[in-house]
């Protein structure tokens, strides 16, 4: 297996998904941006990938790469996808921006047999100290927007996510944690990880 040269340039959470993705899978990437992950998967893993992206310019970027990407809104459009029509559904850094993350999560595991979900961890120590000591909503390198202009309307922590997954009877089949773009351990991840990647399936 040759690895596409640009695969190295993927965002760290996308690189984890790229590495874990089986060859030839059918993948739906929700919030696929300009198609960075999809094009890497297509080149190096012969993945049959589709994308959904809200932003028309980024959507045009992806389509101009020859990727089958549809402009749309995950809050409403996921209902139109057929059940079990994909091997994997990917949602990277988009879950906190949805209206009802719990319902979106249900949709992911209805449409796909498995899902990859990545999100920034609001319980990272730097976020905590910023809130506790500064008394203000945190603005960090990972969460650079201010409270009023962030697209993230449902901030969550790694422990929050685990609780939702358990409540919904979904099963975690893989988990990765990132700090400063590097892998970090599961132990104390809710405090030390800036970012989490979960692989999920029906219970």
């Amino acid at each position: 297996m040759t690895v596409a040269p640009f695969a190295n340039a993927l965002r760290p959470d996308l690189q984890i998904i790229f590495d874990a993705m089986p060859v030839g899978a059918r993948v739906l990437d929700i919030g696929c941006g300009g198609g960075e992950l999809l094009s890497a998967l297509r080149e190096a893993k012969q993945v049959d990938g589709r994308g959904l992206e809200l932003d028309p310019v980024r959507c045009a970027d992806a389509v101009a790469l020859g990727l089958p990407v549809v402009q749309g809104d995950a809050n409403v459009d996921l209902a139109d996808y057929l059940s079990d029509s994909f091997d994997f559904v990917v949602m990277s850094q988009t879950l906190p921006a949805t209206n009802r993350p719990d319902k979106v999560l249900d949709q992911l595991l209805r449409i796909g047999r498995e899902a990859f979900v990545t999100f920034p961890n609001f319980a990272h120590w730097r976020v905590r100290s910023s809130l506790i000591l500064g008394g203000r909503m945190p603005v960090t390198k990972l969460l650079p927007e201010r409270w009023y202009d962030t697209p993230n309307i449902h901030h969550l922590t790694i422990d929050d996510f685990r609780e939702l997954v358990a409540f919904r009877d979904y099963r975690v089949t893989g988990e990765w944690f990132l700090s400063g773009g590097k892998r970090t351990s599961r132990r104390l991840s809710n405090l030390t990880a800036e970012h989490a990647v979960f692989r999920l399936k029906m219970g």
């Binding site: 094009s39 080149e43 028309p56 389509v63 089958p68 549809v70 749309g72 139109d80 057929l82």
Partner: protein, 378 residues
């Protein structure tokens, strides 16, 4: 210029051919023989795998990238089609045919009826978008093209592109559908009916038997065009271009002259249209569009029109297009997703309404070039 045009009379600019057919029309009529006027650009490669069919809109023609013989104007889609353009004629063999029912050299109501040696007029059979496509398929057979690399169209051209994919899925590798729809809505039909009634209310129409005499229903046709032209523009675009500005005068005249610039503009659009278009063709083609509903043969389930398709689709809509609004493109996207098809879709922003697809939007060109490219593969 076609590299083959010197050797093979089938290829080149301003071609016309009489084909035996028959075109099996949806109305049940077998129409034969029939004329098709068309143009080709670029060179068909040895295995005929680089052919792109461009489908024109209601009042369009085959002069997609060459000067119109009657008006002298440049081809209507030179922003998209030509050497080095998104539909690159250095790489692709590009074909555009005048649709059946029209008046630029393909069989239509102004053609001679071999049974009477007179123009058909209203004896021409009522046709559908599917019939236009079936006629084009026979032309492709004549040209030795089995499969299309792509079929591309905006507005009614997009309807043909979708119909191509639905009727001949094995012959279409890619379909690009711009500012279009899978069915004509009540509002679409209503506007067309206004246009048809304007033509038929013109005393010069004479039940369509106005050929060869000095009077044609140009007033009715001009009004039809004026009404339709409004639907091609956005309110925002009209306001920006004309506002309430007066036409070459400082004051209102308190009469019914074209006081406002927008009136003068529409009158000009109407009258210039009558110089290049036949009123009966306008009746027949608008009828074909109104009958168009791809889900109709499938109990209203649009996804079934594309079941099992291997065609790759690219849909583009414009946010100010209220003639075929984004919701219609989304409906097609949902159906194609339901059919498991490979589909791309983008709604682009433009102030120009439905006509945006003809006005060189850079994002559209980038998307089409990418979609027609090597698929991103090295």
């Amino acid at each position: 210029m076609s590299g083959l045009s010197g050797q093979d009379a089938r290829f080149g600019l301003d071609r016309q051919v009489k084909l035996l057919g028959p075109v099996k029309l949806e109305s049940g009529v077998d129409f034969a023989p029939f004329d098709v006027a068309y143009e080709t650009y670029g060179t068909l490669n040895a295995d005929a795998s680089n052919a792109i069919l461009i489908c024109h809109a209601l009042t369009g023609d085959q002069y997609v990238a060459s000067d119109h013989p009657k008006t002298g104007k440049a081809g209507w889609w030179t922003s998209l089609v030509g050497p080095g353009k998104p539909v690159d004629t250095d790489r692709f063999f590009v074909l555009c045919a005048n649709v059946m029912g029209s008046c630029l050299g393909s069989s239509g109501p102004s053609s001679i009826n071999p049974a009477t040696d007179e123009p058909f007029g209203m004896d021409f059979p009522v046709i559908t978008i599917g019939d236009m496509v079936r006629a084009q398929a026979i032309l492709l057979d004549h040209l030795g093209i089995d499969r299309l690399y792509a079929v591309v169209g905006g507005s009614m051209g997009g309807m043909q592109a979708l119909s191509w994919a639905a009727l001949f899925p094995e012959r279409v590798e890619r379909a690009i559908v711009i500012a279009s729809t899978a069915r004509h809505s009540a509002q679409n039909i209503a506007f067309h009916e206004v246009g048809r009634q304007a033509i038929m209310a013109d005393p010069d129409w004479q039940e369509g038997r106005y050929y060869g005499i000095d009077s044609a229903p140009v007033k009715g046709l001009a009004v039809a065009r004026m009404a339709a032209h409004i639907t091609y523009l956005s309110e925002e675009g009209l306001t920006e271009k004309f506002g309430r500005k007066l036409q070459n005068r400082a004051e209102k005249t308190f009469g019914f002259d074209a006081d406002f610039q927008v009136e003068s503009y529409l009158r000009y659009q109407g009258s210039s249209f009558t110089e290049r278009f036949d009123a009966n063709s306008y009746l027949y083609i608008t009828r074909a569009m109104d009958y168009y509903d791809l889900a109709d043969p499938h109990e209203g389930r649009l996804a079934r029109a594309f079941a099992g398709t291997k065609t790759r689709f690219c849909l583009i809509s414009f946010d100010t297009d209220w003639l075929y609004p984004t919701a219609e493109s989304r409906r097609i996207v949902h159906a194609l997703n339901g059919a498991g098809a490979d589909v791309s879709f983008v709604e682009l922003s433009s102030p120009f309404g439905h006509d945006a697809f003809l006005l060189d939007p850079p994002e559209m060109n980038r998307i089409i070039a990418g979609f027609l490219g090597n698929g991103g593969r090295p």
